[in-house]
Amino acid sequence: MATRTVIPFGPQHPVLPEPIHLDLVLEDEKVVQAIPSIGFIHRGLEKLVEKKDFLEMTYVAERICGICSFIHGQSYCQAIEAVMKIDVPERALFLRTIWGEMSRIHSHLLWLGLFADGFGFESLFMHSWRVREKLLDIIEETTGGRVIFGTAKVGGVRRDIDTPTLKRIEGELRTIEKMSREITDVFKKDSSVRRRTVGVGMLSKEDAVALGAVGPTLRGSGVSQDMRKLGYAAYPKINWEPVVETGCDCYARCMVRCRELYESFSMIYQAIAKIPDGPVDVKVTGNPSGEYFSRTEQPRGEVIYYVKGNATKNLERFRVRTPTFANVPPLVKMLGGCELPDVPVIVLTIDPCISCTER
């Protein structure tokens, strides 16, 4: 038996935008075991419900994650709306869908760049982020922020987008879609990308389900599960299907995200075509009393928001289960048996967002 060596990976590592630590037990160059540890960036956001009232918590929820911020805010608002039995106007639901999908596109483009950087394709990284910058401009123009949208609100949304702007945005998005296709074609066909990703980090369908994988990690292993099919916001009124790949490797997970980009573009076009006129919010009176689990699909997978109110302005309990937390056990499984140089690539395929995970 070869001598075992333990190599620490993280919390500070060039491929990791956020701190997670892995102890990699190696036999020669082969990883035989990966032991994760988290806890470097805990901020105690769930405890804040005792100090902030339930309307102010929307701002806190949006800041749980810097990349999928809008969907965090939306999930929190949906939970409170369900507890308080608030009917959100139709137009607000469509606007939430449009911003939610924009958030998904910018998150996936960011990830594609980071992934390219992870296997050393620096120019592909730059090009992915150049495309993303164009989308961030649209987001800033419509919401006022580049990544923290600040438009989620209990009872609707805080801003409206007028019809001429929506039409113009659609045109700009079509240009961005064209630019994205050139980038995703490289991920799909380039020989150097395929050599680093095909057959690397295998996660079988059975393991993905048993270990509770979510989002593109689960769909890359052939399971068609997408929380948007639960029918929140305007998703039931839009034609779309979850993107599923059956490769079970890093390439399949990358392809899920590439194809989801186009699914999201298509959803935004449909939402712009179908958006009804009307108000964008309703007045909220009283305090929440009761409890609710809100489940939504983030770019990284399913997020669960649990809120419990006791008819006071502060919630009694607030709990968030983020997608990266669910994807850590599948990651440990994927790392077993891989080569050391493949570790960064595999870690990136779950799209780790540690700040969400630790809240």
Binding site: E56, E140, G144, G145, G150, E182, K189
Partner: protein, 123 residues
């Protein structure tokens, strides 16, 4: 599998202008909707203190007795909750960010007092 699949994008990038700007000579224009810094039209302000109550980060302090409206720029998250809540509509979100400060403390606080002759002063 196709080698050099990136050739088209690369060659176009080589021949076109840089995607970046020559900052600080060329500045990026902000959008009208950009949430920058909170500004106040202090003469319209009645010092009711609603903005202070609504601020999720406790960045605004209103002292009615001293006639003082104060914002801590480093605490402010530019969410616009105060702007939405203001009954006199004297608060607004400007689309420029507040200037950088060299140290925490006095530099990051802005006082405004609605008294004739005093105007806006930076403490």
């Amino acid at each position: 599998m196709r080698p050099l699949s990136f050739g088209k994008v690369i060659s176009r990038s080589v021949l076109s202008r840089p995607a970046t700007r020559l900052y600080p000579f060329v500045k990026r224009p902000f959008f009208k909707a950009t949430r920058g810094a909170v500004a106040i039209d202090i003469d319209k302000c009645i010092l009711c203190g609603i903005c202070q109550k609504r601020c999720p980060t406790a960045a605004i302090i209103v002292t009615k007795a001293a006639g003082d409206w104060q914002i801590n720029r480093l605490r402010c998250i530019s969410c616009g909750a105060c702007v939405d809540a203001c009954p006199k509509k004297c608060l607004r979100l400007e689309n420029m960010y507040s200037p950088a400060v060299v140290k925490k403390g006095a530099d990051d606080k802005v006082h405004q007092q609605p008294k004739p002759g005093l105007g806006a002063t930076q403490a």
